[in-house]
């Protein structure tokens, strides 16, 4: 028997590749919903942090402190296992909630930074037209801040996509779990996790490209 140069059957990769399609779709879904929730939480918390109301800004600060200071895995287990005495949440919603809560803290900081980066003259110009603070925020500050946040948000989206692999620990049938299952049933762990890796790489590449396109598109109005 001739000695194999590589101890793995790499030929199994193309033939098994599309057996992961459904799992990849789960990954996409929990990431998308999680980040969507994160955007909503992020915007609220960012505005809360910038609020003149002490209670609200302290609460927002505490949220960011707690969430950024603890692992996503802990947050995931708290939602899925920890809350069972009050409410039982199915794996997929648990993953979405944990991803949303987790990313919300990071996105809040992204939004806060981009809102604060808008020159104060913009707020003054809006106020001097007679706009209320909240209208000036909505019409003048936030549209510019969102634009500035796009690169960082894109980055966060890519991180979230990869982080969603932790959902495998609570039985969400996403890519990582599929890899483990396929590995144990075929004993081709290396091959299966290479497939998983390629799927992630494909998705992050598509995201990077899309983000790049959006960034270029948004450059229309600013030259300076």
């Amino acid at each position: 028997m001739p000695m194999k140069i590589i101890p793995w059957d790499l030929g199994a990769i193309p033939s098994r590749f599309f057996l992961f399609g459904e799992a990849a779709w789960y990954t996409v879904q929990i990431t998308a919903l999680g980040v969507l929730l994160g955007l909503v939480i992020g915007l609220i918390v960012a505005l809360g942090r910038l609020s003149n109301n002490r209670t609200i800004s302290t609460f927002s600060r505490a949220y960011i402190f707690l969430i950024r200071g603890t692992p996503l895995l802990v947050q995931l287990f708290i939602v899925y296992y920890g809350l069972t005495s009050i409410v039982t949440i199915a794996p997929i919603p648990s993953a979405v909630i944990a991803l949303g809560v987790h990313n919300g803290a990071y996105i809040a900081e992204i939004f806060r930074g981009s809102i604060q980066s808008i020159h104060y003259g913009q707020m003054e110009a809006a106020r001097s037209l007679g706009m209320t603070r909240s209208k000036a925020m909505r019409r003048i500050i936030l549209p510019q801040a969102f634009k500035r946040a796009v690169p960082s948000l894109g980055n966060q989206l890519i991180i979230a996509l990869k982080d969603s692999s932790l959902a495998s620990t609570i039985a969400v049938p996403e890519l990582m779990l599929r890899g483990r299952q396929m590995g144990s049933s075929t004993f081709m762990y290396m091959e299966m996790f290479i497939i998983v890796g390629i799927w992630y790489l494909l998705m992050t590449s598509v995201l990077s490209y899309a983000i790049h396109r959006i960034e270029t598109r948004l450059k229309v109005s600013d030259r300076d």
């Binding site: 003259g121 706009m131 209208k135 600013d222």
Partner: protein
């Protein structure tokens, strides 16, 4: 094309007390921490009057303008517009600020909106005008500042002088009773100063009440009805331009004028 495009007023004006000055500032004091920036400032501006404030850097000119529309909150003192006391209350301020058109040194145009959107923004969002009506009015104002051909471009594509003219149109859109200018030409290349001053001069001729901070002594001489010299947080003297530039009362004024006037 010429004079016909009269801009119609959008809001009914409140009854005016004929004796009250348009703007009255009374004993205004402003502190930045330990720094006493405005020291008991009092100043009145009559209807249709153009008052130019001159003075050295750091004398408090910008702060005074910013206190008038409450972008800065003074510690004490009173501000009246047409005899009505303006208080530091959000509701009232949002209404009153429409009467006070503000033009900034650095334009502060909204970069994510086209030129016409900049001018329409206050009309639609604050005055609640329908879009098409706001558009018509905005175009008339752009015409007035000589920029109707730039309506659809973004501010980043404009020269400094053009930006400032858009900013003036944006302020005028609110149909203000008085225009406040804070060094509107200081950020401009010298060759662009003229076009902005021309727009301002035309505005003065149309009878607009104006309070202008500027270092353009030419404008003060030619257009102002009254010149106010500020020094270290106080109004040291105020006089008609002829008097101010030929025979100022104070040594400090003379020193300042010597520095800023050519020759």
């Amino acid at each position: 094309m010429t004079e016909k495009k009269k801009i119609k007023p959008i809001m009914k004006k409140e009854p005016i007390d004929p004796d009250a000055p348009f703007l009255r500032i009374e004993k205004l004091n402003k502190w930045y921490g330990q720094l006493h920036v405005l020291k008991n400032i009092s100043l009145s501006v009559q209807k249709g009057e153009v008052v130019v404030i001159i003075g050295a850097s750091g004398s408090g000119k910008s702060t005074l303008l910013r206190c008038v529309n409450f972008l800065e909150k003074a510690k004490d003192g009173k501000i009246y517009i047409e005899g009505k006391r303006i208080r530091n209350q959000e509701k009232q301020l949002n209404r009153v600020r429409q009467d006070l058109g503000m033009v900034f040194q650095h334009f502060n145009l909204f970069p994510h909106m086209t030129v016409i959107q900049n001018v329409m923004e206050g009309l639609v969002q604050v005055k609640g005008l329908p879009k098409d009506e706001a558009r018509e009015r905005a175009l008339a104002l752009l015409d007035q500042v000589g920029l109707n051909d730039k309506a659809e471009v973004y501010p980043s594509m404009l020269s400094g002088g053009q930006k400032q003219r858009v900013a003036i149109a944006r302020a005028l859109a609110m149909d203000p009773k008085i225009m406040l200018f804070d060094e509107p030409t200081s950020a401009l290349d010298p060759e662009l100063v003229g076009e902005v001053l021309t727009v301002m001069t035309d505005l003065a001729k149309l009878g607009m009440t104006m309070l202008v901070v500027t270092h353009e002594m030419w404008f003060a001489k030619e257009v102002a009805d009254r010149v106010v010299f500020m020094d270290d947080g106080v109004i040291l003297e105020e006089a008609a331009p002829e008097k101010m530039f030929s025979a100022p009362e104070h040594e400090r004024t003379l020193e300042f004028l010597k520095q800023v006037l050519p020759h």
